[in-house]
């Protein structure tokens, strides 16, 4: 797999050296691009602005509530933008538009899957989470269960999700910045790591929130402009755009129908389960619900966020089709073969993940290309900042304060530890990003979603919704889900064959959620039923009080209590 682009790169290196890519910077697959000054300038502006915000946020961050939950004073609209900012990663912007470019309709399978988790979050989780919780979803899951056990399993689930998600983002960031800005891989990874440490350690949730809000506005604005420019080229008639796309695409009319992305029914459904329920178990997303004042605000923020994210996915779809229609017949966006020929699907400069970036150049010129490059970098920064904060909170609030110190700690000590954890996570992320530079990390975001759907979501949902859940049930179920999801992914084709080089996959599907998630739920149910301990009886009896609070918010602290 990895040999191919390298070989391609070598054979094309000579041509690339002589051919002048006047239309845009050279985004060669393995080469570092020429330094892109407009992009770097705009990115520096973004960094300065966010550092200013971080400085202001740091001055206003005193209590633990300020650090973990921005004092609970974020409005529904702001939180919605921050949720969207957290969720719209560079992977969805560049990856889905690239997928639409190569396969057309298949891109929609991901877009819809990423979106439909939100209604589930709203109907079952959001308000109850706000009513029961404080800073992390472990607060909610352990509300009436044993603090030590439940926080350990929740924090483990959180850290595993954060680790896989972070590695994927760091490696993506390194490669992307190499291509877009012409900076060496290691520089890029270090810049991302250092900035995310600064945002989180100094500015806590306030800075993280505003970084996400700014990024969401930039990304939505940029994508709106691009999709608008594409539609403008075709007289705002999507039908003409589709027709043109079908005409120039090598797969022709097949791009309007499901293709080879999901080869069999089980795979398709398992992917859907993972995407849908994974959203409801992502720790950095769940944490956002504690930043608003009450259940009403939590509810409204999901509604707005669903609208923003849905709108964004429709834009990426138009951008992907715009890429087909506007780029495919223009040789200046491709690495040309000896006879001036090129493969429309394989030879795009920088790879098909660069469709949105190349399209930015096509519709808006080099300065808009610089803008979109800067937005892509900002996008990664915002997502990793959210992940780092979630990881640091799991370490300080769940593992340290409740498990190690058993509640006998001060708020100041806990926040200090959280900042140290953020620095540590940042350094680990830089190191892992460096180690994994040449590894295939594409499966890692999928793995993060699968673990979220198979460990975090079942533990959280069962502890809130089912009276019978006991500590033993939640603990074993969460553990089974976690181990099952990771094992199945390791034994699947993406890791067992592609990364580890074995001949055949031991687990036939790429997505484990269809199996691992029900397994987790069944284990929680069965073990809880069999649990006859005194503690289990107490926990079932304590459901009533938790239930009243989760449904009404009575007993929940006001957000501005400090």
């Amino acid at each position: 797999m990895r040999g191919t682009p390298l070989l391609l790169g070598l054979t094309l290196a000579a041509i690339a050296a002589t051919a002048a890519y006047a239309a845009g910077p050279d985004l060669g697959a393995v080469q570092q691009a020429a330094t892109n000054w407009p992009a770097i300038g705009m990115f520096l502006f973004f960094v300065l602005m966010t550092l200013g915000i971080t400085y202001k946020a740091a001055k206003g961050t005193k209590s633990a509530a300020d650090f973990y939950a921005a004092g609970g004073g974020i409005s529904a609209g702001t939180n919605a933008l921050a949720i969207a900012g957290d969720y719209m990663s560079a992977a969805s912007f560049l990856g889905i538009s690239g997928l639409v470019y190569t396969s057309g309709f298949d891109g929609l399978i991901y877009s819809t899957g990423f979106l439909v988790g939100w209604p589930i979050v709203l109907f079952l989780i959001a308000e109850r989470l706000r009513n029961l919780g404080k800073f992390t979803f472990a607060d909610v899951a352990s509300f009436r269960l044993d603090q030590t056990s439940i926080r350990i399993i929740s924090a483990t689930g959180t850290l595993v999700v954060v680790a896989f998600y972070l590695i994927a983002q760091m490696v993506g960031a390194g490669k992307l910045i190499q291509l877009l800005f012409g900076l060496p891989y290691l520089y890029a990874v270090v810049i991302v790591g250092v900035l995310m440490i600064v945002y989180v350690a100094f500015g806590g949730m306030k800075a993280t929130t505003w970084v996400q809000v700014i990024k969401a506005c930039l990304l939505l604005g940029g994508a709106t402009f691009m999709a608008g420019a594409v539609l403008y080229s075709y007289g705002f008639n999507p039908e003409i755009l589709f027709k043109k796309a079908v005409d120039v695409h090598p797969k022709g009319d097949a791009i309007m129908a499901p293709g080879g992305l999901v080869s069999n029914p089980v795979e398709a459904i398992s992917l859907g389960v993972g995407l849908m329920f994974g959203t409801a178990g992502l720790p950095h997303i769940l944490m956002r619900f504690f930043t608003v004042s009450d259940a009403q605000a939590a509810r409204k923020s999901v509604f707005y966020a669903t609208g923003l994210i849905g709108y964004f996915y429709i834009l990426t779809f138009i951008i992907g089709f715009g890429g087909i229609a506007l780029l495919m017949s223009d040789p200046s966006y491709f690495k040309l073969g000896a006879a001036g020929t090129f493969d429309k699907l394989k030879d795009m400069i920088g790879g098909t993940n660069m469709v949105a970036v190349n399209l930015a150049n096509a519709v808006g010129g080099p300065y808009f290309l610089g803008f979109i490059s800067a937005v892509a970098f900002a996008t990664i920064l915002a997502v990793v900042a959210g992940l780092t904060l979630a990881g640091a909170s799991a370490v300080s609030h769940d593992l340290y304060a409740q498990v190690i110190a058993r509640g006998r700690t001060t708020e100041t000590a806990e926040v200090r530890l959280s900042k140290i954890a953020a620095v540590f996570i940042g350094i680990v992320a830089i190191v892992l990003g460096y180690i994994f530079e040449n590894q295939n990390v594409a499966f890692m975001v999928g793995l993060a979603f699968s673990v979220a759907a198979s460990c975090n979501f079942p533990v959280l949902a069962m502890s809130i919704l089912w009276r019978g859940t006991t500590t033993w049930g939640a603990l074993t179920g969460g553990l089974v889900g976690l181990v099952a999801a990771v094992t199945m992914v390791v034994l699947s084709k993406a890791v067992w064959v592609t990364t580890l080089g074995h001949a055949a996959a031991l687990f036939p599907y790429d997505n484990p959620a269809l199996f691992s998630m029900p397994l987790a739920f069944a284990t929680i149910w069965l073990v809880s039923l069999m649990d006859r301990s005194r503690r289990a009886q107490r926990e079932r009896a304590a459901f009533e009080a938790q239930f009243v609070r989760s449904e009404t918010g009575i007993g929940a602290s006001g957000a501005h209590a400090h």
Binding site: A65, L124, Q296, A541, A542, S557
Partner: protein, 124 residues
């Protein structure tokens, strides 16, 4: 330890569950027995699960068609280029947004009114 101190944001970090698990607050018990609470929970839970069911049916219907009958998704709509699958995909996105809107509209009016009534009664 009762629910009222559980989420206190200020002050020392206090463990939530263990200590208070076997002493159920009589105040909360009383709330749980009020007709307002039971009405609120009954209506909201039912509504939430119905909407969840609708979302599952629509989304897995879409995925099911992709999985089991790709040819249906390729059918052309209105003699143009756009396929049925494309319209269905966009429909799923709009439907998800619409459902959240329906829930929020209902919650802002009906559920909040029930909840306010309950809060007023409890405070007396």
């Amino acid at each position: 330890m009762s629910g009222s101190t559980v989420g206190g944001l200020g002050g020392r970090v206090t463990p939530i569950g263990v200590a208070g698990a076997d002493t159920v607050d009589p105040h909360l018990e009383r709330i749980a027995r009020t007709p307002e609470f039971q009405q609120l929970v009954h209506e909201r839970t039912r509504f939430g699960w119905i909407l969840t069911g609708l979302m599952l049916v629509v989304y897995f219907g879409f995925i099911g068609l992709i999985a089991f009958d790709k040819s249906v998704m390729a059918i052309k709509v209105g003699g143009g280029t756009a396929s049925l699958g494309l319209f269905l995909g966009v429909f799923v996105i709009l439907f998800a947004f619409l459902l959240t809107g329906i829930y929020v509209a209902r919650a802002n009016t009906r559920f909040d009114a029930l909840s306010d009534a309950l809060h007023r009664k409890v405070r007396q």
